[in-house]
C-alpha cells in the first residue's frame, strides 16, 4: 500500500494540501469555528447534535481535543456529553450439545447489541471509535473463532487499550485466544509451521504488504510463533510445540519467541508509518499527505508507541481541518447507524438494535465480529455499491419511520424511534417549512445542499402549515428526515 504510485487524484489532493499547509501556517487555532467542532465530532466521535456541537465549540480546539482524548475539561467548562455508566459485557456459560449452538448464536447477537448500544450511549465516543479501529485492524471473526467469550475478551482488550500503546496491544494480540484461533496459531507447530499469523502480523498488523520484510522473514517469524495455543480457558503456551532454535528475522539472529518478534518489529521504522497512515485514513482523509503521516508517525515513535500523543497531533493538525478533508470519508455502516441514532436522539433499545445487528449492518457490509476477511473492512468508496446504497437509504428510513414510543405492553417488540416534535421543538410550535428543512439539513448533513435539492425537499414537505405534535406534521417530518438521510451527502462525513 505504501508503494502505491500516486494517481492523478492523489497528486491533485497532495498539491492542494501543500498549498493549504503553506497558507495555514499563519492560521492560529483561535480561528476554530463551529464547523470545525462539528467536523472533529464527526470524525473523533459519531457526530454531534446541535447542542453537542455548540458545547464542543465553546471549549476551543485544544481543549476540545483533550476532552475527547481523556474527558479532561478546563475549570468551569460544560461537558459536551453527559457522563455515562456503561455496563461491561458478561458472558454466559455455554451448555453442551445442541443447546450450546443456540446459546452461542444468542451470545453473538447480545454482544453485538451490547457494543452498538455502548457506541450510541457513550460519553467517550473516541474510545469507541478507536475500539472499532482496532477491530478492523486486528481482525478476528466469530465464524472461525466459534467462542463468543473469546470475541468478547478481544473486544474488551480493544476497549481497555483503545488509546493505550500500539506495541503492547500487538504483544497482547499475539496471546489473544480469538486471534490465535482465527489465524490458526494453534496449529503452528515446531517442524511444521503454519504461516497464517506470522504473515498477517507483518503484512496487516504492523508493517504493510511487502514493506520491509521478505518471505523468508515470514517463515522465520512463523517458527518464532510456534507453541502459542488456545485451551478451553484461553491462551496457553505449549513448550513442546515451540521451536526454540535460532531464527534470522530482519537480518538479526537469535532464539526469538513471540515477544522477541514484537520487539524486533517495533525496532523498525515501518510500524509507525503504517499505523499513522491507517489512523489518518480512518479519521482524516483517504489520501493523507506524506508529511502529515510523518508527523503522527514521529509522535508514535517519540512517545514509545503511546496512542494519545499521536492522536492529539492528528486532531490538532491544520491538515485535519483543511476544506478538502471535510466530508471526504464515506461513513462505515456502523458509523452510519450509530450517528443516525445519536443525531435523531433515539434511545437504543433492543428492537432497533437487533434489527441493525442481525440484518441491517450485514446487508450494508459491516457485521461486527465478522469482518469479511483478515484485512478487515477496506471501506471508503468500497462501502458503496448499487445495492448497499439503497440498503443504507432503506434501513436509515426504517429507523426514521419507527414509532417514537414503545407500543402497548402487548407489543413490546415495537421499535422505539425518533420523536419528531422534540427534534424540531426549538423552532417553535408552528415553524415554517423552510426553517424545518434547514434545521433537518443542519442537524443531519451539517453542510448546505445545492438550491435545487433544498427546493426538492421543500416540495416533498409541502407548504401547508406545520403544527408540531399533530399527526400530519409527524408524518411529513418523517418523510422529510427520511429523504435527508437518503442522500449521497448523508453517506459522507
Amino acid at each position: 500500500m505504501l508503494t502505491m504510485p500516486l494517481s492523478l487524484r492523489d497528486r491533485i489532493a497532495c498539491a492542494a494540501a501543500w498549498v493549504l499547509l503553506l497558507a495555514s501556517v499563519a492560521v492560529a487555532a483561535d480561528t476554530w469555528t463551529r464547523d470545525d467542532a462539528a467536523h472533529l465530532l464527526r470524525r473523533a466521535g459519531f457526530g454531534g447534535t446541535p447542542a453537542q456541537v455548540d458545547a464542543l465549540h465553546a471549549l476551543g480546539r485544544d481543549a476540545a481535543v483533550d476532552y475527547l482524548l481523556d474527558q479532561s475539561l478546563p475549570a468551569g467548562a460544560q461537558a459536551p456529553f453527559p457522563q455515562t455508566d456503561l455496563a461491561e459485557f458478561v458472558t454466559k456459560p455455554i451448555p453442551a450439545g445442541q443447546e450450546g449452538a443456540k446459546v452461542r448464536r444468542e451470545e453473538v447477537v447480545r454482544l453485538r447489541n451490547w457494543w452498538l448500544e455502548r457506541m450510541i450511549r457513550t460519553g467517550r465516543p473516541l474510545e469507541e471509535k478507536m475500539a472499532l479501529f482496532w477491530h478492523g485492524l486486528f481482525t478476528s471473526g466469530i465464524m472461525e473463532v466459534r467462542e463468543p467469550d473469546f470475541m468478547a475478551r478481544q473486544c474488551r482488550l480493544f476497549h481497555d487499550q483503545a488509546m493505550g500503546n500500539y506495541r503492547s496491544l500487538t504483544a497482547a494480540i499475539c496471546r489473544d485466544p480469538a486471534m490465535l484461533r482465527y489465524l490458526n496459531a494453534d496449529q503452528n507447530v515446531r517442524g511444521k509451521p503454519n504461516e497464517n499469523l506470522a504473515r498477517e502480523l507483518l503484512e496487516l498488523f504492523t508493517m504493510g504488504e511487502g514493506n520491509g520484510y521478505t518471505e523468508r522473514d515470514i517463515a522465520e517469524v512463523a517458527r518464532a510463533l510456534t507453541g502459542l495455543g488456545v485451551g478451553p480457558q484461553g491462551f496457553v503456551f505449549r513448550p513442546m510445540r515451540h521451536d526454540a532454535g535460532e531464527k534470522t528475522i530482519f537480518g538479526k539472529t537469535g532464539r526469538f519467541n513471540a515477544d522477541g518478534v514484537v520487539k524486533l518489529i517495533f525496532d523498525r521504522p515501518e510500524p509507525a508509518e503504517y499505523l499513522a497512515r491507517r489512523l489518518w485514513q480512518y479519521f482524516g482523509c483517504p489520501q493523507p499527505a506524506p508529511a502529515d503521516i510523518a508527523l503522527v508517525a514521529e509522535a508514535l515513535r517519540k512517545n514509545d508507541w503511546e496512542l494519545r500523543p499521536a492522536l492529539r497531533v492528528l486532531f490538532t493538525s491544520d491538515a485535519f481541518y483543511r476544506p478538502e478533508a471535510r466530508f471526504s470519508l464515506v461513513k462505515s455502516p456502523v458509523e452510519l447507524f450509530v450517528q443516525t441514532m445519536r443525531l435523531l436522539e433515539i434511545r437504543p433499545e433492543p428492537p432497533l438494535l437487533t434489527a441493525a445487528s442481525t440484518q441491517g449492518l450485514r446487508a450494508m457490509g459491516q457485521e461486527l465480529f465478522q469482518p469479511p476477511n483478515v484485512r478487515g473492512w477496506p471501506g471508503g468508496e468500497l462501502w458503496i455499491t448499487t445495492s448497499t446504497l439503497y440498503i443504507r437509504y432503506n434501513s436509515m428510513s426504517g429507523i426514521v419511520f419507527a414509532a417514537p414510543r414503545a407500543g402497548p405492553a402487548t407489543r413490546p417488540q415495537r421499535p422505539v424511534g425518533p420523536d419528531m416534535a422534540a427534534l424540531f421543538e426549538l423552532l417553535g410550535r408552528a415553524p415554517t417549512p423552510r426553517a424545518v428543512v434547514d434545521a433537518a439539513v443542519d442537524r443531519l448533513l451539517q453542510r448546505p445542499l445545492p438550491a435545487d435539492k433544498r427546493q426538492a425537499l421543500l416540495g416533498a414537505l409541502g407548504d401547508a402549515p406545520i403544527r408540531l405534535g399533530t399527526s400530519d406534521a409527524d408524518r411529513r417530518l418523517r418523510q422529510l428526515v427520511s429523504l435527508v438521510v437518503s442522500t449521497p451527502e448523508y453517506q459522507m462525513q
Binding site: 487524484r9 497464517n196 446504497l389 418523510q479 429523504l483
Partner: protein, 436 residues
C-alpha cells in the same frame, strides 16, 4: 483466516478524478440509453433477447487448492507430499490417463465428457506474491509488476460498447454501467475501469427506495436529491465533490436499471434444478438475466472459503461440490434456455496452494493452479502442461507457473469479446486454443 469474500484491498481513489471529467455529459447519456432500452423492450420483448456473447467470471476467493481440484493421480510425488490430504488414486474421477478431478466435482466431470469444459493447467504469473490481497489485485488488474487502479475488464469497458450513441465525444466515454453486473458485496476490482463503473448488487429486489413507493411527491424529491448536481457548488471542496459525484452516479444508475433487472426475474423461468446454496442462487439469477437479454456482457460472481490452512479435506470437498454442482446446473439451464452457445464461464483464484500439506491437515498459500473455462463454445480438453511435482522442479515448494494468466485473459478478450487484448493488457500475450 476467513475469506468469504476477498477482493482487492485498495480504495479506488483514482475513480473520482476521472469521473469529474465525464460527470457533465454522462448522466444525460445514461438516462437516454436506459430509456431506449426500456422502450425497445416494451415494443418487442422477443427481439430484445440478447445475441451478444456473455462472459461469466467466477472468483474462488481464498486461494483454491489446485492439486486437489485437478488431481495428478499418477504422481508419486503428489502422494508423498500429501500423506493425509491427497485424493486417493481410485477416488479421483478420471478425465485422462493421468489426470482426474476431485470426487466432489461430478458435475464438472460430466461437462468435460460432454465437451463443454476446458481445463488450463499451471496458470500463474512471474514472481508470484503469496499475499491474498496483493495476488487478488494482480489477477484483477493483470499487472503483476506494478500497482494499478483499474481492472482488466474495467479497461475493456472503458473503451468499448458505446452502442448506438452517435455524439462526437462518444469515444471518450465508458460503456454504460449495465454492461457489467457483479452479484457481490463489494465492487470487484476486475470490473473497475478508469471511468467505467459496474452495477453491483446482491439482490435486485433491494434496488428500491421504499418510502417513495407509496408517495409520488416523496418519490419525485428522492429522484431529484439523488441526481447529479447541475454543477459542482462552490461550497463543496474538491475531494468531497468527487465522492459525492461517485455516490450520485451510483444512485442514478440504480434508479435507471432497477426495474429492468427485476423484470428479468419474473419473466424467465429457469429450466434446471439448482442446489440450495447461495452460489447456486446467484447463478440461477444470472441465467435469468442472460436469458432475458439484458445488454450485459460480463457477469461476476464469487464463492469464498478456499483458504484452507487447516482441516482441509472435508471443507474443500464441500466447497468443490458447491462449485461444481452449481456450475453444472447453470450450464444445463443455459443450454435448455438456448443461451449456452453465447456464454463462456471462467473461474480464477488468487493462487493455488503449497504442494506439501502442513501440520494442520491443511495447505498454505502457493502459486500456480488450474483454471476452468466452460460453456457452449469452448474447446474442451486439457490445456497447458500438468505440474511436475518432482521436488527439485518446484518453486519455493509451490507449483511453478507454465501459463501466464494474461494468456487466458488475452484469449477471452480477443477470441470471445472481440476486443484489442494488447491495448487492454499492455502487451502481447500468446492466446490459447480455448474457444471454438
Amino acid at each position: 483466516m476467513s475469506d468469504r469474500i476477498l477482493f482487492s484491498r485498495r480504495i479506488f481513489l483514482s475513480r473520482g478524478a476521472q469521473l469529474l471529467s465525464v460527470a457533465g455529459t454522462l448522466p444525460l447519456f445514461l438516462d437516454r440509453s436506459a430509456r431506449a432500452m426500456a422502450a425497445e423492450h416494451a415494443a418487442n420483448p422477443q427481439a430484445a433477447a440478447g445475441k451478444d456473447r456473455v462472459l461469466v467470471v467466477v472468483q474462488l476467493a481464498g486461494g483454491n487448492d489446485g492439486l486437489n481440484t485437478v488431481v495428478p493421480f499418477r504422481s508419486d510425488d503428489y502422494y508423498k507430499a500429501r500423506p493425509r490430504l491427497a485424493i486417493a488414486r481410485d477416488a479421483a474421477i478420471k478425465l485422462t490417463d493421468d489426470l482426474g478431478v476431485h470426487p466432489s466435482l461430478k458435475g464438472l466431470a460430466k461437462l468435460y465428457g460432454d465437451g463443454r469444459l476446458a481445463i488450463v493447467q499451471s496458470v500463474g504469473y512471474p514472481n508470484p506474491n503469496r499475499s491474498h490481497f496483493r495476488s487478488t489485485d494482480i489477477w484483477a488488474t493483470a499487472e503483476p509488476q506494478k500497482v494499478a487502479s483499474s481492472g482488466w475488464l474495467g479497461r475493456y469497458f472503458d473503451s468499448c460498447c458505446k452502442g448506438e450513441d452517435p455524439s462526437p465525444d462518444a469515444a471518450s466515454r465508458p460503456a454504460d454501467s449495465s454492461a457489467a453486473i457483479a452479484l457481490t458485496g463489494e465492487p470487484p476490482q476486475t470490473l473497475q475501469g478508469e471511468k467505467f463503473l459496474p452495477l453491483v448488487f446482491r439482490s435486485p429486489q433491494a434496488l428500491t427506495y421504499r418510502p417513495g413507493s407509496s408517495n409520488r411527491a416523496v418519490a419525485d424529491a428522492f429522484d431529484k436529491i439523488n441526481s447529479p448536481d447541475a454543477m459542482a457548488p462552490a461550497t463543496r471542496p474538491a475531494d468531497a465533490d468527487q465522492t459525492t459525484q461517485f455516490l450520485q452516479r451510483t444512485a442514478l444508475t440504480a434508479r435507471l436499471y432497477a426495474d429492468r433487472i427485476r423484470q428479468s426475474t419474473t419473466r424467465v423461468q429457469n429450466k434446471a434444478t439448482y442446489p440450495a446454496t447461495r452460489f447456486a442462487a446467484d447463478l440461477k439469477l444470472l441465467a435469468q438475466m442472460i436469458a432475458d437479454g439484458l445488454p450485459t456482457r460480463v457477469y461476476y460472481v464469487s464463492i469464498g472459503g478456499f483458504d484452507t490452512h487447516s482441516q482441509q479435506a472435508d471443507r474443500h470437498a464441500r466447497l468443490l461440490s458447491e462449485l461444481g454442482d452449481a456450475l453444472a446446473a447453470f450450464a444445463a439451464d443455459l443450454d435448455a434456455l438456448g443461451h449456452l452457445q453465447r456464454t463462456t464461464i471462467m473461474t480464477f483464484s488468487e493462487f493455488g496452494r503449497r504442494v506439501a500439506e502442513n501440520s494442520s491437515a491443511g495447505t498454505d498459500h502457493g502459486e500456480a493452479a488450474p483454471m476452468f473455462i466452460l460453456g457452449g463454445s469452448v474447446k474442451a480438453g486439457i490445456h497447458g502442461p500438468a505440474p511436475d511435482l518432482t521436488p527439485a522442479k518446484l518453486h519455493r515448494g509451490d507449483v511453478p507457473y507454465a501459463v501466464d494468466f494474461r494468456q487466458v485473459y488475452a484469449t477471452v478478450l480477443r477470441n470471445w469479446l472481440g476486443a484489442d487484448d494488447r491495448a487492454i493488457l499492455g502487451g502481447g500475450f500468446q492466446t490459447l486454443p480455448l474457444l471454438a
